[in-house]
Symmetry: C2
Subunit: 142 residues, 2 copies
């Protein structure tokens, strides 16, 4: 399994938004922008509602593609970006804790998230990495 | 055909990067990040090389999905974003002129682009809009 190097992990954890592509039942792609973090060698996102289209899509077809913009650019001014192709699975629980952790970078330090009392345990999407591409040096070489 | 409202057109023309999803021959999605602009009611991107995977994909299957991040956020801190589902066609020529125009916002005013003498005329991808979604108010109501 390819592994993200430090630059890629730093990008994901920096608060860069994840453009998550999942496949609809009719074979067309669906795109949603979500917060993702790194957990071990996987990418993870938290979801409070089981009914989200992206979760239904992943349960039927676990293949996903995720893209992130970098703040860095190449010498001619085109921005670097990371594309991760992966296989997702959905696990139950843990969404509020993960969302709270990600909100500290995506919204700001000290943010209480989700902004509700007693959020449901929800679901965590875990993406095992199948391929790393994009523009930039993102793959661990060892 | 749905039309982008002023906020959506301003976002695209602001230098927001386009995450462009095209479909590979095997039915999997391909993601590339490109510069896009608005031309009439369509989205346009410029490409110097005919061999790009995204152009080959569009010639075989014209359905594309494009997502853009906004700098604005909703009241709980989640960033707005625009998703455009469309039908693309490729026209010959005009890529250097379009890329030069887009470089003025993506790289900076006064940028010479493409950074080469005598660039090839290339290709322009024109995306007719089939559906507008995402998080935010992006569709023209009239």
């Amino acid at each position: 399994m390819p592994r993200l190097n430090k630059a890629a992990r730093d990008l994901v954890e920096s608060g860069a938004l994840a453009h998550l592509v999942t496949m609809n039942a009719d074979g067309t792609p669906q795109v949603a922008i979500v917060w993702m973090g790194v957990d071990g060698d996987e990418l993870v996102s938290g979801h409070l509602m089981a009914t989200q289209q992206k979760l239904r899509n992943v349960r039927r077809d676990p293949h996903v593609v995720i893209s992130f913009e970098s703040d860095k650019a190449n010498p001619i001014g085109m921005r670097d970006y990371l594309v991760v192709r992966g296989t997702a699975r959905i696990t139950e629980g843990g969404a509020p804790e993960l969302l709270h952790r990600l909100a500290q970078t995506h919204v700001g330090p000290g943010t209480k998230f989700p902004p509700m009392p007693d959020p449901p345990p929800g679901f965590v999407m875990r993406v095992a990495i199948d391929r790393i591409s994009g523009s930039g040096e993102w793959e661990a070489k060892d």
